[in-house]
Subunit: 211 residues, 3 copies
């Protein structure tokens, strides 16, 4: 990866890791796990997506376990949640906002890293972006014993896919500036929040006996 992207890559990774750690920690607090359960779920939610990304593109060992800055951000997110979590009644909404921010940061960070790795096709780079973005949340929800948010009602994977497509197209056009990356992340966040606030749902299957 050209050095000019290294800072954006790290910043996006750090943002995604921290907010997904908060999101994982809040789910753990809601389930009344203990301090270490909160830390483990925070780290799983925060680092899971990036670790899967690195396994898929062959960056071994994954930065999620080898870079102490990401590890520290994940643990810090878990600790902050444990100490300062707001009332349980306000948690559900807050988890969704954090989740949307992490979705944007990780979709862009994931597709950026994939598209700048030799041997990864554009199509694969988009998919790696989506997997990076939704992977941590899936791990969080499976460990906490609930059906992953990505399979639930509101549009979730689609904003991540659009953001990844923007990054991959920009890479093809040779215009991977920092502002493109942050704009792509912002678009993912905005679309996701729009879907949550307007209760925009993707269509559901027709029943056999339609009404």
């Amino acid at each position: 990866m050209p050095t000019s992207f290294a800072s954006a890559q790290l910043a996006l990774d750090l943002v995604g890791v921290f907010v997904f750690a908060l999101s994982g920690g809040l789910v753990a607090v809601k389930k009344r796990f203990d301090l270490f359960g909160v830390l483990v779920l925070a780290c799983a939610a925060a680092l899971g997506g990036g670790i899967v990304r690195d396994l898929l593109i062959g960056d071994i060992p994954p930065v999620g376990i080898s870079d102490w800055r990401l590890l520290t951000a994940a643990a810090l997110g878990g600790l902050v949640t444990f100490l300062f979590h707001p009332g349980v009644e306000r948690i559900t909404r807050f988890v969704r906002v954090l989740d949307a921010a992490g979705l944007g940061a990780f979709a862009v960070a994931g597709s950026l890293k994939a598209v700048t790795t030799p041997g990864v096709s554009p199509v694969a780079a988009v998919l790696v972006g989506v997997i990076t973005a939704v992977g941590g949340g899936v791990v969080r929800d499976v460990l906490a014993g609930q059906v992953p948010e990505v399979l639930r009602r509101e549009l979730y994977a689609v904003p991540a896919m659009l953001g990844s497509v923007v990054v991959v197209v920009a890479a093809q056009l040779g215009s991977l500036q920092d502002w493109v990356l942050w704009t792509a992340a912002g678009v993912v966040f905005a679309l996701r929040m729009l879907a949550v606030h307007l209760h925009l749902n993707a269509p559901t299957p027709l029943r056999s006996n339609p009404t």
Copy 2:
């Protein structure tokens, strides 16, 4: 892998991907997920086993994310399910038939790819075949919040293991013809359907207080 097997490998992969996508999509329809939930669960069920296989044997990035034909087959399977799924009451049985077909295709495709990869022992190739075959279904069931079929009553992993053994033995004997591969896949399917229809169960643990 010798070029002569490449077509069988791709055909088996495509068959397995498409039917596992249908199977994943049907589970999602049954759970009333939305369009994108159906597509995600279809892709997870369809590509999960092959991605795990490629991670285990070091084929990076895995074909499940890099080959657009497999991706398209998976998405198509999900879309077909979403649009044309039969009545919910007929779904359970149909999922099982598709699952048996995918089990056969993936057991053979997985062990074939493993046994033709340098450095993978025959024993490991059999295990990789089984993991390829059951992996997608496990991912599907875990994401949908149900105990994986492979752990449930009827014989499930055993047909996949027998099919993988046939492929690995044929490779040792130097007779990996296409008809051997398709026969092995057919045997897995037939054994699995036999187990379902006859309600053949593997033995269950004795209770402490036997009757």
Copy 3:
């Protein structure tokens, strides 16, 4: 890895695999899975942690699928459980003891293998040790449909982390003798059993309305 550690590595792996296979098998027996469900859950619990470790440090194919001794130990553990499991009422406590032994063996085996792999930092080696130790149990619990033990009440990941830290520090000091490794494994086991028996819990989050 220096040859002198190879025997300790294998012994620790075998101990961990066998006791985690018993632990996985007992959970399966408790859930009334059939013979092959018991074998699959035993193998998943026994080999899952080591397979994840090898994927993370790039040892492909993972020894968990390529070494017939580990596979045999896992299958044997499942079979023993199936045939000779004690009364269901005594199972819960026994699972915990086995789990503690596996935790110790795998924390040490995992961090030892990671710290002797070129390119893996000390911090990453500790984390790989913890993931090796808790990974199999997480896979076991997720497949069996229960919230992973590592997120539940008593101190669980912390003993594994302490054991991994001991191994990594010993490696830094150049004193990776066999007795150090076995002592580290014993310390993990003792701390974990202490936590279980004294019902030592990590702190839980404060409620919004503290009492």
